[in-house]
């Protein structure tokens, strides 16, 4: 089993925005960083834009190297069972914490937006109270890129 599908890679926004997109026919698009396929992403940055449209909350996170569009599905699925009810409640609670100017940590699945651009379908989002977490995230990105991702791409 390829556990890398479940891992939220840590990439700088500039790295994320330069991912290579492959669009195989009849399949979901796939994303590659220098030859290494990635599925999920974790980022830390400041919310610079926020837009609530219907059952979706769209916001943009700026980590200092670029801006990553994020989207949260706020559809209420409580009628589908207890698990869905609990999930909905959590998502609503977390969405309420996303405010302009806040430093947030976002994890999600890499997808393509309506206009073909890259975006992050949010799995979870939380406010970071410690401002030092942002530069620490940059260091994590650098360390992982050097010691893990680059080697995975070119073993």
């Amino acid at each position: 089993m390829n556990w890398f599908q479940a891992i939220h890679v840590k990439l700088l926004a500039s790295d994320f925005l330069s991912l290579t997109v492959h669009n195989p026919p009849n399949n979901d698009p796939t994303f590659f960083r220098r030859g290494m396929q990635v599925w999920r992403l974790e980022t830390v940055g400041v919310v610079v834009s926020k837009d609530r449209t219907g059952d979706f909350l769209k916001f943009v996170v700026d980590d200092g190297t670029g801006c990553i569009p994020c989207i949260i599905d706020l559809t209420d699925r409580s009628h589908l069972g207890l698990a869905a009810e609990v999930e909905t409640e959590r998502v609503l609670r977390e969405a309420a914490t996303v405010e302009l100017g806040k430093l947030v940590r976002v994890r999600g699945k890499i997808t393509q937006g309506e206009e073909g651009g890259l975006q992050l379908k949010v799995r979870d989002v939380g406010v970071e109270d410690d401002p030092n977490m942002e530069p620490l995230h940059w260091m994590d990105c650098i360390r992982l890129a050097r010691s893990c991702y680059d080697r995975a791409a070119h073993p």
Partner: protein
């Protein structure tokens, strides 16, 4: 050549303190079992100033037998702290001398060969120092390598007995003599017999007089020394308000002098053959600032003879200032002797006399309180030692004519009735019973916030579990009270326990009242603390300006030498710990597979999925988060939690239990979710309320006893939807209960907090000890590394940044060097 082996090495006290610091570093290095981890980076020079709390403090007691030096100095009382110190021309060190007589000669120089050196400090302090302890200690090494330091983070004091020390006779000093002049008692002199029931703590200002309070007095009158009159006199006067006795003035190594005396209760009265003292026969003794030594050496619960300032037998005369003044002042010329009172019964049977001696002497021996305090083989020190013949004088109360045991008992009762008893010293468990009883009485009664605390004063003895010291006044630039020289008061908060219960004592304490040795893992007696009710109607104990603390016993605190011992077990709140492995901060999970079993691994990661959760109903002792005085309760506990973590490089399959599991599940975060009819409402700041997550879990487990939750959909998308619940009861598992558990698991899997985890790697089957059923269907996870979590704390971003910067700069230097070579 003459044999000079009798010569001893004397270390100046300032250099001794320096030696203590270096020894401490060596001790920490040895304990942490990593001589290379300190490295050379200035970033790791010193980590965190914190007051020593129970969790990270070490106390070591070194015996003089293990030292190669002796101590030489004079005794003095520090004008800053009011403590007894051993001093020389270079510095001073706090000293505990249990057998110090009241009339000790402070001009004498003592050579102390038999002593115990106590060093206390935090195990988290790491210093960059070279070690010179391998070299033999010589004069050169003392002055070259152990030079005096400006400040110290350690608490250092020395414990020795004066009778085992040598007074050195120097020409220019007046010597300490066991002369009888200090114990002279002339005919016609009068003494007041005092019983010390309390000492008010001294305050920092040297201009304020300190007071000794609540003493009871009885006049002791000298009689004609003619012994032939004693027998008739005894028979006659025992039936009145006077008690016959023999005063023996002695020191351990000097002659003794005996004087027949009788005890006269000037304010007493007889009732049914028993003597009683008036309730108003209490005085305050005031000590001038230059007699702080006399004040320091008086002990609560001890008897003392104070030479009367008046003349003649009639002490009611105005000549006696001890009677006429409200607060008689003890001055340098005041003569005070510590007294032991012995009751002798001479039995004449078959021509042989047998003496039965009942001793009424000094304070209750606190050794009985410390019986269970120290473990067998554990090193400890009695700081409040009553067993070494500490009295200057002995008062033998006897009657040769008393042949009946009943008369002796009557005599004892008479004597006891004259003296007021000390406040009963309660145990922690008894105190909690009082608190709960009073809580029931005052339930619902609100105390206005602007009123002074009210309640009863009580005396309490117990073992200090932890102590926090903060808020120094005047404000200190540094946070350590050992370094700050000029603080006068501070706030303390202590947790005191016995075998069963724990209470919190908090309040303000002055520097003079802060006794030597007070800290974690000591047995202490707290005189006159206030049992009051705080604004949240919880009973608590408060230190007051009249509270007095006596340290009875201190014991060694040594952390375990292996790496597991560095990581503390905590029930509810995982304390913030600084990890020792600072050189490389943390590993990536992708590198964990390369580690061998039982390596300690540090990871910075986040929980992504809960695999297995076992909840159980357990009964245990009081825990930190419970309200003060809460007895043993049944709580929810987590004996096993299996979960996945990730750090961006890979996944790791981890296992944890109890306090660590609670932290990973975020059960104790400050804003608790209050569950109410399906709606989640963000609640107020965490309190022990009936709607917290812990309480709901507790209620659930009280009903079901044991619940096992398994996640069948963990792979590959890390979902927590497909959960199964196995309960160990016949009760119905309700929807609300299922929702609670799902919410807890869901919150844990989506926590934004990055955690710093320390654990040991293990193969897939080790360390499960009969819990193999939790691995039965985990084949999909077998390719992942397994980690048994030993400690979990929130990540420290600054420390991690230091580590990454150091590592990154090292690599960049290396790469730059490579580039240079290639050119």
């Amino acid at each position: 050549m003459e044999n000079l082996s009798f010569l001893k090495l004397v270390i100046p006290i300032s250099n001794l303190k320096s030696w203590c610091e270096v020894s401490w570093i060596s001790l920490l290095a040895q304990k942490h079992n990593d001589n290379n981890q300190f490295g050379e980076s200035p970033y790791f020079e010193q980590l965190y100033h914190r007051e020593p709390l129970g969790n990270d403090m070490i106390r070591r007691i070194f015996s003089s037998d293990d030292m190669s030096f002796v101590l030489v100095g004079m005794l003095k009382v520090s004008p800053y702290s009011g403590r007894l110190q051993l001093t020389d021309a270079t510095g001073s060190i706090d000293a505990v001398v249990p057998d110090l007589p009241l009339d000790v000669n402070f001009q004498a120089v003592y050579e102390v060969k038999d002593y115990k050196l106590v060093i206390e400090g935090s195990s988290k302090k790491i210093y960059m120092q070279q070690q010179y302890l391998d070299e033999p200690l010589s004069c050169r090494t003392i002055f070259q390598h152990f030079s005096p330091r400006a400040s110290s983070q350690l608490v250092v004091y020395v414990h020795f007995y004066l009778k085992k020390s040598t007074c050195m006779h120097f020409f220019q000093f007046s010597t300490y003599m066991d002369n009888s002049d200090s114990l002279k008692c002339n005919s016609g002199e009068m003494f007041h017999l005092l019983y010390v029931t309390h000492k008010f703590p001294a305050y920092h200002s040297l201009h304020e007089d300190v007071s000794l309070s609540n003493s009871s007095e009885i006049f002791l009158t000298n009689l004609d020394k003619k012994s032939d009159c004693i027998d008739n006199f005894l028979r006659e006067n025992y039936r009145s308000s006077q008690i016959p006795c023999l005063l023996v003035l002695s020191r351990s190594n000097s002659q003794s002098f005996q004087f027949p005396f009788y005890l006269h209760c000037a304010r007493g009265f007889k009732d049914n053959g028993m003597l009683h003292n008036h309730s108003d026969s209490k005085i305050l003794l005031e000590f001038s600032s230059n007699n702080l030594d006399k004040y320091q050496m008086l002990r609560v619960g001890s008897y003392y003879l104070l030479k009367c300032s008046g003349k003649g037998l009639d002490c009611k005369s105005k000549a006696c200032k001890h009677i006429t003044q409200v607060k008689p002042l003890v001055i340098s010329e005041s003569i005070i002797w510590r007294l032991s009172i012995l009751f002798d019964e001479a039995k004449h049977q078959n021509g042989q006399s047998q003496h039965v001696c009942s001793c009424v002497s000094s304070v209750r021996n606190d050794k009985c309180l410390t019986e269970n305090f120290c473990q067998p083989g554990q090193t400890f020190l009695h700081l409040n030692d009553e067993t070494h013949g500490l009295s200057d004088v002995h008062l033998h109360m006897y009657s040769e004519a008393i042949n009946q045991l009943e008369e002796l008992e009557s005599l004892l009762k008479s004597f006891h009735s004259i003296f007021p008893s000390l406040d009963k010293i309660t145990t922690v468990s008894s105190c909690i019973q009082q608190m709960m009883a009073q809580a029931a009485l005052t339930s619902g009664i609100l105390i206005p916030a602007n009123e002074l605390p009210q309640g009863n004063l009580l005396s309490l003895s117990g073992n200090i579990e932890s102590i926090s010291i903060y808020d120094f006044k005047p404000k200190c630039a540094c946070s350590s009270f050992t370094v700050c020289e000029h603080w006068s008061t501070c706030e303390v908060c202590m947790l005191v326990n016995d075998d069963c219960h724990m209470v919190r004592i908090r309040g303000s304490i002055s520097r003079y009242a802060y006794p030597i040795g007070l800290g974690h893992a000591v047995n202490a007696t707290f005189h006159k603390v206030l049992l009051t009710q705080n604004s949240s109607q919880t009973k608590e104990l408060m230190l007051t300006p009249m509270s007095f603390i006596v340290v009875n016993t201190v014991k060694e605190i040594c952390p375990l030498v292996n790496v597991e011992g560095l990581i503390q077990e905590s029930r509810w709140n995982i304390p913030y710990e600084v990890f020792i492995n600072t050189k490389s901060s943390s590993r990536l999970i992708s590198n964990v597979l390369q580690c061998t079993d039982s390596d300690l691994i540090h990871l910075n990661c986040r929980v992504v999925c809960i695999i297995t959760l076992v909840l159980e109903n357990q009964t245990h002792g009081p825990v930190m988060s419970q309200p003060v005085g809460y007895p043993k309760i049944t709580t929810a506990s987590i004996p096993l939690l299996g979960f996945l973590v990730e750090d961006g490089s890979s996944l790791c399959y981890c296992w944890a239990d109890y306090g660590r599991a609670e932290t990973l599940l975020r059960l104790h975060e400050s804003s608790q979710m209050i569950f109410s009819s399906g709606k989640i409402v963000r609640g107020p700041e965490k309190k022990y309320s009936q709607r917290t997550t812990e309480y709901l879990l507790y209620e659930m487990l009280k009903k079901h006893q044991k619940i096992i939750v398994r996640n069948h959909g963990a792979a590959p998308d890390l979902s927590c939807v497909d959960l199964s619940f196995l309960i160990d009861s016949d009760q119905v598992f309700s929807k609300a209960e299922e929702k609670l558990l799902r919410s807890i698991i869901n919150n844990a899997c989506h926590a934004p907090t990055t955690l710093s985890i320390a654990g040991i790697t293990m193969n897939s089957t080790s360390a499960f000890d009969g819990r193999m059923e939790f691995l039965e269907h985990r084949q999909t996870l077998q390719s992942l590394p397994y980690l048994w979590v030993k400690e979990v704390v929130p990540i420290d971003s600054r420390q991690e940044a230091y580590g990454r910067t150091y590592t990154l700069s090292g690599r960049m230097r290396q790469e730059a060097g490579d580039v240079h070579l290639s050119i």
